[in-house]
């Protein structure tokens, strides 16, 4: 039984078919990459799965339950957590505080107990802090925990966002172009990190431009072009797929 099942998913913006009748499965514990040229609908597909935008038609199943139509926060609560291509951290909060936001769904303290600072929240806050520190450690950012995010270089902000997503204890991690804006060394580190996360049992769905990264880490690849799925399979097979080569290298027979 696949963990995520995408069935005939479509999203039209007026006449533009951003995602057109796309279906694929994601098995538990694998790294699946979604690739394609610019404007192929990769990010839209992500937005559809995470509930950020509504689908035009089609369904997404998670553990055999329909999740299309749920609000993003409900989907996150079910264990599917995403990162963003152009980073959406709170720039005015410290690194640690940003990661602590990730613990939101794994903690309970409500409005009243927050206002009155009731003793039962103290222990929870401590646990939130500890777990968040652990996640910062995973992305090797623990020493920068008190720095305001706005003062960090881009690559490190990416790491913080990943730590925040990990703090949610997701079962499925959706990474939207995690390597964009990173230099070679940072990309290398990222690839090691993602492999490590796989050993934790995480299922990872990744949208990426960097082909070497994709080929290095993924178990399975879906190729999109103009919103349609044109190929799916293991990385080495995708590399030899004529259709894929055509869209990446052009139509010329040269």
């Amino acid at each position: 039984m696949p963990l995520i099942e995408v069935k005939n998913l479509s999203r039209y913006f007026g006449g533009l078919h951003a995602v057109d009748n796309v279906s694929f499965n994601v098995e538990k514990g694998i790294i699946k990459a979604i690739i394609g040229p610019n404007g192929a609908g990769k990010t839209t597909l992500f937005n559809l799965i995470s509930g950020t935008i509504n689908v035009t038609s089609g369904k997404v199943f998670y553990k055999d339950h329909i999740i299309t139509g749920l609000k993003p926060y409900q989907i996150a609560k079910k264990g599917i957590v995403r990162t963003f291509q152009n980073l959406k951290l709170n720039q005015h909060m410290s690194v640690l505080e940003n990661v602590m936001i990730g613990r939101h769904i794994r903690s309970k303290a409500g409005f009243i107990s927050g206002m009155l600072n009731l003793p039962n929240t103290w222990n929870e806050e401590k646990k939130i802090r500890e777990y968040s520190m652990k996640m910062l450690d995973v992305v090797s950012m623990a020493d920068k925990k008190d720095i305001t995010v706005a003062n960090l270089p881009f690559g490190q902000q990416r790491a913080v966002e990943l730590a925040r997503a990990l703090a949610c204890e997701p079962e499925v991690l959706l990474l939207d172009e995690p390597a964009s804006g990173l230099n070679i060394y940072e990309t290398k580190e990222l690839s090691e990190l993602i492999k490590k996360l796989k050993t934790w049992g995480l299922t990872i769905l990744i949208v990426e431009h960097d082909m070497s990264l994709v080929m290095d880490i993924s178990d399975d690849v879906v190729v999109l072009n103009y919103g349609e799925k044109i190929a799916e399979g293991q990385p080495d097979k995708i590399q030899k797929n004529k259709k894929v080569i055509k869209i990446y290298l052009g139509d010329d027979d040269a």
């Binding site: 609000k71 993003p72 926060y73 959406k88 709170n90 936001i101 939101h104 409005f111 927050g114 206002m115």
Partner: protein
């Protein structure tokens, strides 16, 4: 509460404690009256600060909630039910102390709702109305949200001004005092000035501590994250519309409580308290205080209201608040009190002190 906030709260506590002493030393005890009023207005502003600064949602209708609190108590405590006295229901309510019997200035018997009960009503009404209004309004963003909240504010203003039981343009006067303890009653009597000031200070501290706790709690983090990016917060599993609604309701309750006490303190309330200009004032105070800065809001809330009540701005009262809005937004959208600025100042001072120490050490050697 962390050390920094604890320190700040104790400083504020000390200031409140010492103020009557200072005013009596300077022989300006009458300042206390305006200070007390300013504190009640500041309570409205810090509630709005949570909504605007921390959750990032503008409300141009805060004065409406202030007047809901004020008018609730004004109507219910000036109503005279004496002619129904003797009926079973009234007797029951009197036994339960919901209604109180007293004499008015003409020495006639009057039977009205106890302020304790109207305090409860003021909070409940604010909660209900903010809940009902908040659900649709908070779905809107930006300009639409501003206009919708402003529209709500104007509706309340027009209702207040056009309804007979609310006193129309004259408002409601002769609101009775609110006896909280044998030695403490909320009214404008000069002999109670110091007690009243302390009581207002006490309410302010209480409200402030509650808000500071909230900001530093799990919910507070969620709110601040909501301000950063609603989309990201949603993806982190935060039910953003729920939290926006809660903060809106919290702000409404703060405003209502401010309105409630000020009405008893002044012994009345008029429709201008519900006007758009009042709402703009609250927004101006939050803006000049630095949006997400509860201390800045507090300081400017008391300062500006105090100056305005003392008549320092003269006939330019509204213009001053308009100018503040424009200038702050153009030159210092983060407000005048910047934490970063203060931090940098402290660091610089430390460096200078260290340099001096080094120099002294060298010379000593």
């Amino acid at each position: 509460m962390n050390k920094e906030n604890l320190k700040a709260v104790s400083v504020l506590f000390t200031i409140i404690l010492l103020t009557p002493l200072i005013t009596s030393l300077l022989d300006v005890n009458f300042y206390l009256t305006q200070l007390t009023m300013s504190i009640y207005y500041a309570i409205v502003s810090i509630g709005l600060c949570m909504l605007m600064g921390y959750a990032g949602q503008i409300s141009m209708g805060q004065a409406a909630f202030f007047s809901i609190g004020g008018y609730t108590t004004a109507v219910l405590t000036t109503i005279n039910l004496i002619e129904y006295k003797g009926s079973f229901l009234i007797n029951l309510l009197m036994k339960l102390r919901v209604l109180v019997l007293d004499k008015n200035v003409y020495d006639n018997d009057v039977l009205f709702f106890s302020p304790w009960v109207t305090f409860f009503f003021a909070i409940v009404f604010a909660l209900i109305i903010s809940f009902v209004i908040g659900i649709p309004v908070l779905k809107l963003k930006g300009h639409y949200l501003a206009m919708a909240t402003m529209g709500f504010g104007i509706i309340i203003y027009k209702i207040v001004k056009g309804t007979k039981i609310l006193g129309q343009a004259d408002g409601i006067s002769a609101v009775p005092l609110f006896k909280i303890l044998p030695f403490l009653s909320i009214d404008g009597d000069i002999s109670n000035r110091i007690e009243n000031f302390y009581f207002a200070g006490f309410i302010l501290l209480l409200g402030l501590i509650i808000l500071i706790n909230l900001i530093n709690s799990r919910v507070g983090r969620a709110l601040r994250s909501l301000h950063g990016s609603e989309e990201a917060s949603n993806s982190m599993g935060i039910n953003t519309s729920k939290y926006k609604l809660y903060v809106f309701m919290l702000g409404a309750v703060f405003a209502s409580i401010g309105g409630f006490f000020l009405t008893h303190y002044n012994g009345g309330i008029g429709p201008s308290e519900a006007g758009v200009m009042k709402s703009v004032r609250y927004v101006a105070i939050v803006a000049v205080g630095g949006m997400a800065n509860i201390w800045g809001t507090l300081i400017f809330g008391i300062l500006l209201n105090f100056l305005s009540l003392r008549g320092v701005f003269g006939s330019l009262d509204d213009a001053v608040f308009g100018a503040i809005l424009i200038l702050v937004m153009i030159f210092a959208p983060d407000g005048l009190i910047k934490k970063r600025f203060l931090d940098a100042l402290i660091v610089k001072c430390k460096i200078i002190i260290k340099k001096i120490q080094l120099k002294l050490n060298k010379e000593g050697n």
